[in-house]
Symmetry: C2
Amino acid sequence: MSVSLPAPKHSDLLAISGIKLGIASAGIKTVDRTDLVLIQLAESTTTSVVYTQNVFCAAPVMLAKQHQNEASPRYLLINSGNANAGTGEAGLQAAQDCCSAVAELTNDTKNAVLPFSTGVIGQQLPVDKIKKALPDAFQDLKADNWFDAAHAIMTTDTVAKAISKQVEIDGNTITVTGMAKGSGMIRPDMATMLSYIATDAAVEQLVLDTILHNAVEQSFNRITVDGDTSTNDACVLMATGQAANNTIDDIDSAEAQNLYQVIVQISQQLAQAIVRDGEGATKFIEIQVEQGVDTQECRQVAYTIAHSPLVKTAFFASDPNWGRILAAIGRSKIRDFDLSKVTIYLGDVCIVNGGQPASDYTEQKGQQVMDEDEITIKVELGRGNAKDTVWTCDFSYDYVKINAEYRT
Amino acid sequence: MSVSLPAPKHSDLLAISGIKLGIASAGIKTVDRTDLVLIQLAESTTTSVVYTQNVFCAAPVMLAKQHQNEASPRYLLINSGNANAGTGEAGLQAAQDCCSAVAELTNDTKNAVLPFSTGVIGQQLPVDKIKKALPDAFQDLKADNWFDAAHAIMTTDTVAKAISKQVEIDGNTITVTGMAKGSGMIRPDMATMLSYIATDAAVEQLVLDTILHNAVEQSFNRITVDGDTSTNDACVLMATGQAANNTIDDIDSAEAQNLYQVIVQISQQLAQAIVRDGEGATKFIEIQVEQGVDTQECRQVAYTIAHSPLVKTAFFASDPNWGRILAAIGRSKIRDFDLSKVTIYLGDVCIVNGGQPASDYTEQKGQQVMDEDEITIKVELGRGNAKDTVWTCDFSYDYVKINAEYRT
């Protein structure tokens, strides 16, 4: 189940010069599916990564951070089916063994390999299976492989998430292609589940870091399915420098801003795709909070609404039970909150005006909005000029079913 | 559905001298059930109340606070079926009209009446129905009516919640009887859904306030079903002074402490009954967090676990998917968190020891604990001596069903 989320077509996804992807089936959780992706980066590539803020971060996250400090990444190794999280010293050794296996196969150093894992937490990674499948992935390396890679990294996702865009910079056509996976345990915190975005543009490291950080703040860090921040989140942005543009070395330049806009669009579409494919989702909900003192308090109100199980189940039922939205706003703990200034819209229907029930609201008007698959809630706090937006989905029987049966 | 929660028997509930309760059927949400309770307090009664901290508090909460400041409460009027929340000025007028109707009937002043409502949010209170049923409730006033009152205040509760205890003070037998309602929108914040506890002891106002505040902190403020703080929460403690004890006027006296212990026990049992009867609950879960720097951080970790939809659905499935507990702890945002000091138990089975997977853990041991109806999670943070406990329940299909169909 997913909300207005068409599957990407193979032909929509553009190759990025300097990036090759190889796919294999290691049989990590189940057989008969691909679950291993090796990504090869040209030597000219600049790479930026943001990781989960969860303190119990997974072994591959710890190791990827360390390797990134030691060497310039040349390979990314991604597996689905097992998160290698909560696996202690043995898990760290497993991640190291996988990187060593890649190094042996590619004649590179092991710290040029960044490992990423996603799937069940608390089970040891089957290193032997991965090592056995690695040569297949290596053999399969090719530029035109984003479609299969986007499928291989899926776990409870029902639709693959990948997109390409192009932009003119310095008279050159620059291509950006990104993919992501994620459906549950989604409330990214400085990163998302797993996302890989690549461009052939030449971009200096600090500019690339800034672009990634800002793009994530406006996309992956504004979505939530269930409030559960993953142990394995990571978002990688790679710039191969294979296009003919002059290296972008100033974040304020027109070139940097052009590239940034495309990367934000791709990030937002991937982030929203994760919500549209949220576990059990039947509705896609945009929560806009405006007129706040600062964006932080706007976000706080938006997330309180987005995480309320009562709001989420009312959306599942298409029930305009707006009292639950109001109750969530009321418990969102913002300072010196004056509810007589609050106005709330469900779609374009005003439900609360200056803290009072809107006089022209009718249940029929509310029902019309709730019957849609995509719904916007707008809250005006009436105390400033800041605003922020969060995207989420509803809570359905299937969310419970998927998560009750996940390991069976 | 509820977890190990026997229904109270009529004969278990002891009358409190100085308190009479009258029940009626006003047909507020449905016919064929009782939904109105009038409680009459003897003039000698001292009354203490704590209310919800939700900024969007309901009209009856606003009015009860005001009346409490103006006069000594003589009547409590409680209705189920409609929360009179999110109803603006009209809702406030409705609550006032109900109090006036009680005043007229009883020849008392309207500010001696405290109104309480629980049920659907955002619909106007049917004042006429309530006024019409009030004489029935007034006629029905009697001391031996706690059993029927506990049933009349129920909404999505499946089991009535009421209990009596006795304690010797000054050589006199003091009786305490309490009742509560609540099942969803439960994460009380300085109060609970609705709870009424009465004693015949003579207690001075400030001592009563302290007893109530402390008892609530150890009971209703330590439970959560879904993290949603209600707009209507209130907990009332009444001391009628009809027993022969000397008025308790020192919180540190043996008498005050004896009474306090009984009230804490009753509060905890009622609070736990709310969790056991949590919407769709199939498991009762106690989360103990120990060895913290202060109780605040222990509570923060406990609530993060208790609110995790992934933890709650794993409990529903009796799945020892402990990685989800670990992920919740990891995102609980406590400062300078060193996971190498963390130890976690599921029941008496150690699952994580010093941040590493426990070497003697087996899936079979974890499964045995998860198969129980009542489960304890213990987290040792290894950084101090503070501890705190929170009670919660699992997340089931029925939680979604109940809240998707609530208004239909």
